[in-house]
Amino acid sequence: MNRQAQAAVLFLTGAALLHAGLTDQYLRYVKAGLRPMLLLSGAVLIAAALATAWYEYRASRPGGTPAAGAEGPPAHAHREPRVSWLLTLPLFALILVAPPALGSYSAMRAGTALQQPFGYDRLPAKGPLDLSVVDYATRAVYTHGREIEGRVLRIEGFVALDRAGHPYLVRMALNCCAADAQPVKIALTGTIPPVLQPDKWLEVSGTYTPRTTKDPVNGGPVPYFEVTHAKPIPTPADPYDETWNT
């Protein structure tokens, strides 16, 4: 790959990072906190592309000063390796495909990652409670529903079906990026919509039930949730649970 092609790849990679960082696309892959670095690195890559093109142009100009502008050797003298061509793959993936956030396929391949937390936030005393999947699952499994029993709860997550067709409400929890995302699952019971499509996001309302089951993959604890009402919602801007390790 010669330097013009490298400049082009650098420019496109930088532009793709900027685009992902300026829209909510980056939230499908990484945590929200990475955004400033993402934008910065996109800008640096574009600057490197422009600088490469500039020095290349200076070197090719008939009156160009060779000492300053002539392309010296690469930092160590060997050919630009073929491996650089692989950088076109993420470009293709980011610009053309823009893969969605991890969904039910990954969720059902991995076991629930539920862990006993160090403590619990105080809940408001009245009204329906909005809980995250992780929050409900930890309270249901480790506190036996002490504070949530008998109250109306609302939980958002996406639908996943196991091999037998049992429905789960899942949210993927991130440690660092989507590569280490692990699912936290709630099994659904009660008045479940007759047709459930995997990966569709739902807001389910209902109540705590002490019933639990075991995750078919790793045997981890999966609490049940008694659904009274379910309504489809759009995919949230940040599809992952980032409260996992704060």
Partner: protein, 399 residues
């Protein structure tokens, strides 16, 4: 950039710029995200196509200029070697991207299977997470390589080799960069008269214990701050052990002293951006390999296989150490791949993080190129064994 190209345009004119743009738009695609990428395409083509037109001229013009220069005999040989095969690369790149744009409908269809989607998400996630750290490290290492003279390191080191080894190992902490940056710097150190044992300790420790890499490790393992400490300790330990080992057993005739300083004959700006471009292209390419492997392990390989490998602690450590060698991921990015291997024990992940920056396929090639094949053939296996031992020891104590 545009001026010479516009004059050249008639010569190799018939580049297919305007044709493809109308095509992708009506493609059914089916995804809501389709509108944005298509919109951003024209930009890319206008960037690319001129490049392909310029090739013949740009490759021809500098040749007569660089030939009469006093220094670079070896360089001009290498440059002329590389031209015939590589002069077409902008054209190839343009054709490749155009084909992908034209075929995006069918390709999307193929990729809509859940396995492929999940593979691509993990692939992109590893890259998006690692690229900012890679860019940061590349910037800092370019700055140091260009603005700090190598003689500074030579002067700063103690005279006694036995003491110089740990000092050089610790000095690795101030060279932010990945292993691609440390090989040329270590070569420069040897050339400026630093004892090889100390230069080698620096070579091994610098990619693993510098602030950028340690920060990336802390980000990748937010729940296990011990991992950062363990990585630092184990890498320093192994680097010093290898330095002392070389001092006891190494022979100078195994080591071919490198000759050329990487940045001679260029302005600082050109050297700086040249270093940035070079490092991003190299390390980025290998990072893609690593991301593909991580995605395959995560999305395709049955979880039961990984669990079987992870169950036996010895097999787990060996498996990840070998994986680190094969993947050749840049040390600024490898922590994120390690963190994605959720099934494996912390010690096995530590082995991955200690072995990777010290010896992998890419490093072997670079060491053979810089110090000679006879050196690399002896040094690499020894490093591999010592690195595993160091990781296991440290893991047993700290993790």
């Amino acid at each position: 950039m545009a001026t010479t190209r516009t004059t050249n345009r008639p010569v190799t004119g018939p580049a297919p710029t305007p044709a493809p743009e109308p095509d992708p738009a009506p493609e059914p695609g089916g995804k809501p995200a389709a509108a944005e990428p298509v919109g951003s395409e024209p930009q890319s083509e206008s960037e690319l196509v001129p490049g392909s037109e310029l090739v013949p001229e740009s490759e021809l013009v500098p040749k007569p200029e660089s030939a009469p220069e006093p220094k670079p005999e070896s360089e001009s040989v290498l440059e002329s070697e590389s031209t015939p095969g590589e002069s077409k690369s902008p054209l190839i790149l343009t054709m490749l991207l155009l084909t992908l744009v034209l075929l995006q409908g069918p390709i999307r269809g193929l990729l809509s299977a859940p396995v492929m989607q999940s593979w691509m998400t993990v692939f992109v996630a590893v890259l998006v997470q690692a690229l900012p750290f890679l860019v940061l490290g590349v910037l800092l290492s370019a700055a140091i390589a260009v603005f700090v003279p190598p003689s500074f390191f030579a002067r700063a080191l103690p005279k006694s080799p036995a003491v110089a080894v740990p000092v050089a190992g610790l000095a690795g902490a101030v060279l932010p960069g990945c292993e691609c940056a440390s090989v040329p710097v270590a070569g420069a150190l040897v050339r400026r008269g630093v004892t090889p044992a100390a230069a080698l300790a620096f070579l091994l420790s610098a990619p693993a214990i510098n602030p950028v890499v340690l920060t990336a490790t802390a980000v990748a393992f937010p729940r296990d701050p011990g991992m950062v400490v363990a990585r630092f300790v184990a890498s320093l330990l192994v680097a010093c052990a290898m330095g002392w080992l070389w001092q006891r057993l190494g022979r100078t005739d195994w080591l071919r002293t490198p000759h050329r300083s990487p940045h001679e004959g260029r302005s600082r700006g050109a050297a700086f951006w040249g270093s940035v471009r070079h490092d991003v292209m190299h390390a980025g390419g290998f990072l893609v390999v690593g991301a593909m492997a991580a995605a395959t392990l995560k999305a395709v390989v049955p979880a039961s296989w990984l669990r079987t490998a992870a169950e036996n602690p010895l097999v787990a450590i060996l498996a990840l150490a070998v994986l680190a060698v094969l993947l050749s991921i840049c040390s600024e990015a490898d922590a994120f791949v390690a963190a994605s291997l959720t099934e494996f024990s912390m010690t096995a992940k530590l082995a991955f993080l200690v072995v990777g920056p010290m010896i992998d396929l890419k490093l072997f090639a670079m060491q053979a190129g810089t110090f000679g094949r006879g050196f690399a053939l002896r040094f690499a296996p020894a490093t591999f064994v010592v690195a595993i031992a160091g990781a296991v020891l440290t893991g047993a104590v700290l993790l």
